[in-house]
């Protein structure tokens, strides 16, 4: 008795409500549904949490306050002076990715952060936004980001291409990091679940591994949202303060 394992089946996008305006496929998919749920959950958590305004916070207010203070502290220490202006963006980004990762871990749900197009869109927003902020604040002086102070001219020939490359590769590394983590983690869970289903008696062993992996995935889900947000802060600091 061999069960065929199809670990990538969980990432299939299905059209829940087919929409084709002007020949463009704008169907409401399961990915769109999960994004809507994630965004609604963030709004609900923060709005409902802030409603009570109690001096001694209850459970919901505690969660909202911990999230707020955690990100506020992170932006303040990592984005430097003037970075707090961009706190709402970083907070939204963090909560959206966090909820996406965590809701994806619910069995039978869908992880929209495991799709490169979603993470790349998020990373591209960060990249374009940071570049615009840099040029708006420093004008053409922003280009000195690529040529650090006090470097000999001979070295600049080597250094400027490297700096340019490392700058333009940012949206790719930022998006592939999140995407690969989610893809590999969920595939691994599915593979071990497939082992557990195909072995008659000792399937309890891969099932135990799966439970442990699930805890690792919970850690990774929180950690990757944190990494995405903190790298956004570091890129912002580059644009605001030029090294």
């Amino acid at each position: 008795m061999a069960i065929e394992i199809k670990p990538l089946e969980q990432f299939t996008i299905e059209r829940l409500v087919p929409l084709h305006p002007f020949g463009i496929d704008a169907s409401f998919t399961n990915a769109a549904l999960m994004m809507t749920i994630a965004a609604a959950a963030v709004c609900l958590l923060v709005i409902a949490g802030a409603r009570a305004k109690a001096l001694v916070p209850g459970r919901w207010q505690s969660i909202a306050e911990i999230g707020y203070e955690f990100i506020a502290d992170m932006v303040e220490t990592n984005a430097g002076h003037g970075g707090m202006a961009y706190f709402p963006f970083v907070f939204t980004l963090f909560m959206f990715i966090l909820l996406g990762n965590l809701l994806g871990l619910v069995p039978y749900s869908f992880t929209f952060t495991s799709h490169i197009i979603v993470t790349f869109a998020l990373a591209a927003v960060v990249f374009v936004g940071v570049t615009i902020i840099g040029f708006a604040r420093h004008g053409l002086h922003f280009l000195s980001l690529f040529a650090p102070h006090g470097v000999p001219v001979a070295l600049l020939v080597l250094l400027i291409p490297i700096e340019l490359l490392s700058y333009f590769i940012r949206p790719f590394t930022l998006s592939i990091r999140l995407f690969a983590n989610m893809l590999a983690g969920h595939t691994m869970l599915a593979i071990f679940a497939g082992f557990a289903a195909s072995v008659p008696l000792f399937g309890i062993l891969p099932l135990g591994v799966d439970v442990l992996l699930y805890f690792l995935e919970l850690l990774v889900a929180v950690l990757q949202a944190y990494v995405f947000a903190i790298l956004t802060c570091l890129y912002l600091r580059d644009a605001l303060h030029l090294h």
């Binding site: 199809k6 670990p7 990538l8 592939i176 990091r177 690969a180 983590n181 893809l183 590999a184 983690g185 595939t187 691994m188 990774v220 950690l223 990757q224 944190y226 990494v227 903190i230």
Partner: protein
Amino acid sequence: MDLASAKMIGAGLACVALVGAGIGIGNVFASLITALARNPAAQVTPFAFLGFALAEATGLFGLAIAFLILFVF
């Protein structure tokens, strides 16, 4: 060599990337323990977890490639 065995070998080779991730993660937490043993008041744990996530991601690139070779192509 037929395609199926080439795929298996390719997936196995792609998993070699996890060697680096293992070394990196071990290094991160070894350094964290050293730092906390020398100065228990040091506020370095968030940076350690940032380093852990960055090191783990590089290995997972390879693992993702292995999965893609095995299950997509």
